[in-house]
């Protein structure tokens, strides 16, 4: 009987927290991997239209984004209310597209460059005029893979 009593007396009540950081780190790494940092602040209002035949964009690093829409209210005194193009962080004109594409291209490994897709995030109310200009510029720049961003139509 004395055996049991001895053991009980020796045991410490504290639970070891040494493995807690490891658990937290595991969670941290999970979120770091799935995180996509929002790289651009939207300066134009974009509400993409609905569609049914959607394709998912696979690799985020192979996608460059072109936003078209009316400027947000706080930018309207400077940029007006007509639909504008936004590339990266700033308002741009159609002529800035080739440079923008090139800047994205150099960051992509050479063997993946053929798979670069341009995602056009266009507001549904915008007229086709500016979209057409952008499309022509994309074709002239040799960027032929284009994804018209849209939302799944609710059933």
């Amino acid at each position: 009987m004395s055996k049991f009593q001895k053991k009980r007396g020796k045991a410490k009540p504290a639970i070891s927290t040494a493995s807690l950081p490891d658990i937290i780190f595991m969670l941290l790494f999970f979120f770091m991997v799935v995180t996509v940092l929002r790289d651009a602040e939207l300066k134009v209002k974009v509400t993409t239209p609905y569609a049914t035949e959607l394709t998912k964009l696979e690799e985020k690093s192979l996608v460059n984004y072109l936003y078209i829409g009316r400027p947000e209210k706080k930018y309207q005194p400077i940029y007006g209310t007509r639909p504008r193009l936004q590339l990266g962080d700033a308002f741009a004109t159609v002529d800035d597209i080739p440079l923008f594409l090139e800047k994205h291209k150099v960051k992509v490994p050479e063997n993946k460059r053929a798979r670069i897709t341009s995602s056009l995030r266009v507001d549904g109310e915008v007229t086709m005029g500016i979209v057409q200009d952008v499309k022509i510029k994309l074709r002239k720049s040799g960027q032929l893979k284009v994804n018209y961003s849209a939302k799944k139509k609710p059933q």
Binding site: L20, F31, T35, L54, L120, G124, Q132
Partner: protein, 184 residues
């Protein structure tokens, strides 16, 4: 000699108690900045740029399915006004031509869809029309795929099978230079 005694007293372990806190901070930062919004859309392959206008006059008129969208977002399909809800069904009929009519496409691989819009057409309408045309093709591919391989068409099926299907019913859309009547 006092020095050595303090060293002896110090434990060799670094206190890792605050490690969890640091990791927590990082974790919360990433939790806040995470956006798991996935990007979806209609994938389109634009034709390469050429300075010459493509000549579609050589094509037989029965093989061309012209879709015009004007600045009022109205549809004119082969010279007749059409509601957008009918577009998918009519396109399927045109491509597959089940009754072998004289005025519809000779064969699915000869059918060409010619899409023309105005600079004043709203983007939502344009995309809807494009979506319907694509949906028509997807339905046809689906049927063919079930006939040939017994499975529904999907982008995940073997590339060889996709090629067979797209060889029989190629997706050909020709987009003409838009008119300019209604731009704001």
């Amino acid at each position: 000699m006092a020095k050595t005694s303090t060293r002896d007293r110090m434990s060799n372990e670094i206190n890792a108690g605050s490690m969890a806190d640091i990791a927590f901070l990082l974790l919360i930062f990433f939790l806040v900045t995470t956006t798991i919004a996935e990007d979806k859309g209609i994938l389109v392959k634009l034709p390469p740029w050429s300075d010459e206008e493509p000549d579609i006059t050589q094509l037989k008129t029965r093989n061309v399915y012209s879709v015009l969208v004007n600045a009022q977002n109205m549809l004119l399909v082969r010279g007749e006004e059409m509601d957008i809800d009918d577009l998918r069904e009519k396109t399927i009929e045109f491509i597959s031509n089940p009754q072998r009519r004289e005025d519809l496409a000779e064969a699915p691989n000869k059918a060409i869809i010619s899409l023309k819009n105005d600079r004043g057409t709203s983007y939502a309408t344009y995309l809807e029309v494009y979506n319907e045309l694509k949906a028509a093709y997807y339905e046809l591919w689906d049927d063919l795929s079930r006939q040939k391989f017994g499975v529904a068409y999907s982008d995940d099926m073997p590339v060889a099978q996709q090629k067979v299907i797209k060889g029989e019913i190629p997706f050909v859309i020709s987009e003409a230079e838009p008119t300019n009547f209604g731009e704001e």
